[in-house]
Symmetry: D2
Subunit: 455 residues, 4 copies
């Protein structure tokens, strides 16, 4: 099929949806080891052998009397039982958060050995995820709760592994890097530090059951916070198992709390516990409600309305057509960054050269600015579109896409002071720490100084 | 008076207040020049010759029919008439904000010559403020509306001048510095930019009529935003004159709007105009209300409860006593950073060595974390107090103070994701821009690439 | 003339040289002020009223008995008398350098008020150069000793002014910004500082009599060094006057020494004084000799062999032809960055597409890598040329040129560990300071610590 | 023993030397695995089963006919045979270096996938060194050639492992981070890149057979260089085995060459191959010769004269005495950073308060400035000593020491433009890359632009 046909085909396909739940996988039967940290076997969870997901608070895994039963997306059988906390059960979580002071579990002047401990935990966890039996375990676990192909589920595990590799060794403490500038006189120096918020909460959605919570959780920990994590109940099994892996790698049981609950309970908990910061990834509607409930003490990554615009130099390329196809249909799990709107240059049809300004004004009127793509190698065209838009993660060039959120670059919305980023050192510092300035002024007091006479 | 006596004296003095409105000044009569930009003469404003303060919108200075009359703090005469906009008059301001797109007046891909223009405006304005007749004009203007000594008022002008000096020449564009990292394959690179918010609002209080609005306003402009500025009506005359100076130095009339109004009107305007970001400096109560009204699209610098703690090595120093005195009483205008609570080590009385933990837990329970001082040259003591506290601007060492907010270091609260900073490059970037990531992916597409067969 | 003709014309012109000494200027007669700092009048220097250029050492302007007479390039008349130091006269300069310790005149732990003083000197000097009578004075002075048009000479003054604007206010101390990272246990933090070299020398050539010495001299001072400056005797008059301006602006007389001498004497001085660092801008031959004489304690900006390559997308553009013309002929003073070699794509003639690799291998074999230009908006072509070359300052895009060295970006050779840069914050830090690490390790010593038993 | 006695004892001990070759080790017999990469067994090398050390060039391990026999330090038996290249054999090494262009094996515009490959190699190698059987192997190998205790040898392996952990995942490409600044008009942006040197050489000494060559070698590779490595023949066996481990982890055989030779041969090779950069760690005498031979294209870490000064607040602390002891005698391998000179305050004897200036002037006169220690928690004392000295790695505080060079902070001399650092991101960028500026200037050319008329 020629590129031209491919693009035409693409247009025809725009009203259909063709996500294939290709639950294929590689055969890892050679890894007969059971995994010491795991409390479930990915292949064996079923209606007759349902998995149980617990809560973790103040260092203890706990069960409530309230079970939320999750149906298997393949056959509708109830195959996961999630122990959910109700409004009467939130007190231990509120107390646990309140035990962490505002200055955090560590900061550059307190318990710096924790930076090293977290570097070690991360090194071990990265290595664990690099082991085929472990990555296979998590990829399959993701598949059990989410309509992803094995390749897509594995990619999520892989990105998580690569993220962890980025914070091995001393890289956690390097996040706490401060700067200093000479003051006005001898003995004065001003220092800018990254300070934790202390007790914080993280609320993450169903579409990336492992990647989003791990990247945000570890970022929160690295900077010195004590996080309470809540993952969408439909997929929370994945992260519950991952926490057990992190404990195996040395993470103290009391460092992270983990809660399962409905939204109303969680809302009540937030209002009582008053976390110093909350990271919310999910729908715009809930995001706006939480922003009000929490008086703006929040960072958000909400849904995007993600456009792609093909430049005047894009003609009949198979490659571009294929990427468009992938962005629109193939990445079924990536709700937040899937291509929502496609503009093509008059080579094909959609807009004429003198209509670019109109297209740009359409983009300006949108309300969510997560990802975008400018498919063009014409530098003047790219410059005009980027200079007149605001999407947070914008791909540019003939190979541009809108999906895929790797660990090596910033991913997040722009144009909003509440906007969060995920995964990179810059994102972690922005979301999980604030600036604190310490000005040393040690003297000496100038010789012959005397108390000034009152004027 | 010995240091010991001085500290005791200080404690006795704790319930009195002794701010002296020492309206002295130097004699600048030799500067007979009138100032072309100015529409008032600082010395001649009076009940019979009242000053008028106008609004600026869409490039025009405008008068409303609604005048708010400000009484002279010295004799109660109505000496300033502020033209205030009421709810029916907000439309032009809403429209003016809406004319600025989300991607701002400039960004690294749009109108970069504006960075240079702003560098030039800043260079000229810094030089203007360095001229004795201009600094004297503004110092006196500040004194007319605010109970400051000439020295204090002049210090505010001086800090403003020094701030402007910091952004001469290319330093405005250096704020837009981006970074980039190699991608996964040839032709891919990810770039992190600082992006403007576009239409923004700035609301500033009475206590620093010149410094706070100039530093925030220029920061907003530098990063590419179009700000609407509102200053407390009691003192807005100062900033109205400063805007005229900036215009003289080349700032386009349409770059900044300036509004006078009561709080209710401003609130309505904010709800209609929906600015992308709002900087509020002022009372905690209004700050929290605005945070809700604006769904958290806000940065705040609210009141601080500012403590000072004297270390075990502080004995009978005159110098320390004098600084305490200054922090508590002498800087009457500096409401936000004045010393609110003083802990002394048992040399004197207040706390014993084994009570430090208790003192720290008192600090932890406070709700506002702006400034603090740890008066000690004992590095272990300083380490313990800093590591267990969270105030945003913390002075440490024998010469530590809580007041004084120069342009060379960060000033702002910590421990709050909504916290603003003021004046430094780091503060400007944090408050007035967000991260935008652009990932170039130009190819080449791998040789022999073919559309993958569907699986 | 069409672009095609223009490019052909350009090729024909390649063997001629057409620099026009257009000594035109604007009329500044309205600036009747004499300049208090100046000891010459640019218009009145002549054979009958020759200018005298002195030396400055240990705070005193001195004359030697040895005068080097410089002929007027316009008419050959001896119009400048340079007081040159001979080998017997170097002792005061050697002593003056030795009076500066290795840790410099200031550093972050010593005399930080000097950072502010230099910021003030710079602010004043930038303003001075912005005054038409002062910029005119220096532009004309440059023209008297150098074959530049008024526009070119003025551009040199303007770049110098803009450079100074970049280091107003606190920007000098911001150059001394350090960073710190948490250590292994409580009380340990490692800090990376920029440290001065102490006594240093600067040797600069004839082609930019003001810009090169000012930018390097101020950089050296900013970081805490004490420089001895030597400018090519033919043009040293310009810098001698500039030093007098700097003194007027508050630079202490003892901060900089200034010497005129022949090369042999300077070499002897260097061997005796053993400066901690030497910046040399000039011919490659002398650069290599100095590198050996000074055992490599040197940074170099030597001559470039500066190529330009036109991409396959460059056709008949007038604009490109005009820029090529400018780069090759019009900027007669810019020896170091003038275009030395031009490759055009087969649109015109020089190389065919499959010869690009060959062209790149020619570039690889060159020995000096200062500037280059890739004239193309084809991102894949630009990527290939940049990725396979090494010139330090490379311009890319349809508007690329090889000449012009503004103050806002790095200018200097690449591919050589001895390579210097000029003017930007990054260049100043690289050339004029080194890394010093200070690791605080204050304790507390762990409770119950006891001397380990020998094993 | 009291601290006071301990310090006195220390003084008495100053003329003796008591390094104990405590060749103890843990028992790792449970690790029965042989190591696939290794060609020797640490325990079994002996006069009768001598180890052979080969050369690596252009991807092949080669033997010369020339064997240098190394005697076992324990019993004098010839136990290692090093294949040394003589002057006739250098050609393949010269050719191999010349095959690498000046723009390196990779850079941000060329083969970026190599950054990821090196990140993967590093991740694997870090994990390998974390395995007890591998760390034990290298610790024992180090002990066979160097008089270190098992603990000391193991510490060297451990630091190497931690260094590798710091450059896992994306951290190699993060070293290539560039920055950009808006230009003067639309379409112009200036970018500052870190560029490789291409063919480089690394020469390292006997005292850290693993840590110094690994840290410098990996740094060179990370930035895109092709290194030829030469390690002191007495200890080169360790690094030869480490290279085999790196190959096992995926490092291409052609990325690094490895040569054994005498100094004369190496010198000839350097003069012929003209590497673009050479890192030399070793004696000052050879360093100075190489600086001349290589015209200054060199970075040096030479011997230090490392002083320690005890502050007025240091009294009878056992802890300080013990650290002094360790610094002076116990770290027998750490020649470069061992404590060479000790100043104590009059509590004990050596200098009186008014003699501090004299002590500082003694420090100023020294010639090598590697490490130093200011043992004091008096911030004014520390400030005075640091502000008046220049040693590159200076420890300050009651727990200060002079020995120990971990991977988390800079280690290297200061005060010399040729000074190298080791191991940290800042050190790697400084030593193994240079600045390259690329200025994009893509247009658009201003509308209605026309070729200016010649003037």
């Amino acid at each position: 099929m020629s590129g031209s046909l491919a693009l035409r085909h693409l247009k025809n396909k725009c009203t259909q949806h063709a996500s294939s739940n290709c639950f294929s996988s590689f055969n890892f039967s050679r890894f007969a080891h059971s995994l010491p940290f795991a409390t479930v076997k990915a292949d064996e969870i079923s209606g007759s052998q349902p998995a149980e997901v617990l809560n973790l608070v103040q260092g203890n895994w706990t069960k409530s009397s309230n079970w939320n039963t999750i149906p298997d997306p393949l056959n509708g059988e109830p195959f996961i039982k999630v122990s959910e906390v109700d409004e009467k059960g939130i007190q231990p979580f509120v107390e646990s958060l309140s035990q962490c002071p505002k200055h955090g579990l560590h900061n550059p002047f307190k318990a710096p050995e924790r930076y090293l401990m977290l570097g070690d935990v991360t090194t071990k966890a990265a290595h664990r995820l690099s082991q085929p039996e472990v990555s296979d375990f998590f990829a399959k676990l993701i598949q059990r709760v989410s309509p992803k192909s094995y390749q897509q589920a594995f990619a999520e595990v892989y990105v998580t592994q690569k993220f962890l590799e980025n914070f091995c060794g001393d890289q956690v403490r390097f996040l706490a890097r401060s700067f200093a500038v000479p003051g006005n006189h001898l003995g004065q120096q001003s220092h800018g530090f990254r300070w934790p918020y202390g007790p914080v909460t993280i609320i993450t959605p169903f579409n990336f059951p492992l990647e989003i919570p791990v990247l945000q959780l570890m970022g929160a920990l690295y900077m010195g916070n004590k996080p309470l994590l809540k993952v969408d109940s439909k997929v929370c099994m994945v992260m519950e198992q991952m926490l057990r892996l992190l404990h195996e790698c040395g993470l103290p049981l009391t460092d992270v709390d983990f809660i399962n609950s409905d939204g109303k309970t969680m809302n009540k908990l937030l209002l009582e516990a008053k976390p110093r910061m909350t990271l919310f990834t999910g729908s715009s509607k809930i995001a706006e409600k939480l922003a009000v409930d929490l008086n703006g003490r929040i960072k958000l990554e909400d849904a995007g309305f993600d456009w792609k615009i093909l430049g005047p130099d894009v003609h009949e390329e198979d490659y571009v057509a294929w990427v468009c196809d992938q962005d629109a249909y193939a990445c079924s799990g990536q709700k937040c960054s899937a291509q929502s709107l496609l503009f093509m240059h008059e080579i094909i049809t959609e807009y004429k050269h003198n209509q670019l300004a109109m297209v740009l004004s359409v983009l300006e009127k949108m309300h969510a600015h997560l990802t975008a793509a400018v498919v063009s190698n014409d530098p003047l065209f790219v410059q005009e579109v980027i200079g007149n838009s605001v999407n947070g993660t914008t791909y540019a060039g003939l190979r541009a896409r809108t999906t895929g959120a790797p660990q090596n670059h910033w991913f997040g919305p722009a144009g909003d002071p509440r906007g969060a980023g995920i995964g990179t050192p810059a994102a972690i510092k922005l979301v999980w720490s604030c600036h604190r300035e310490v000005i040393y002024d040690i003297g000496p007091v100038p010789q012959n100084w005397a108390t000034p006479k009152p004027t």
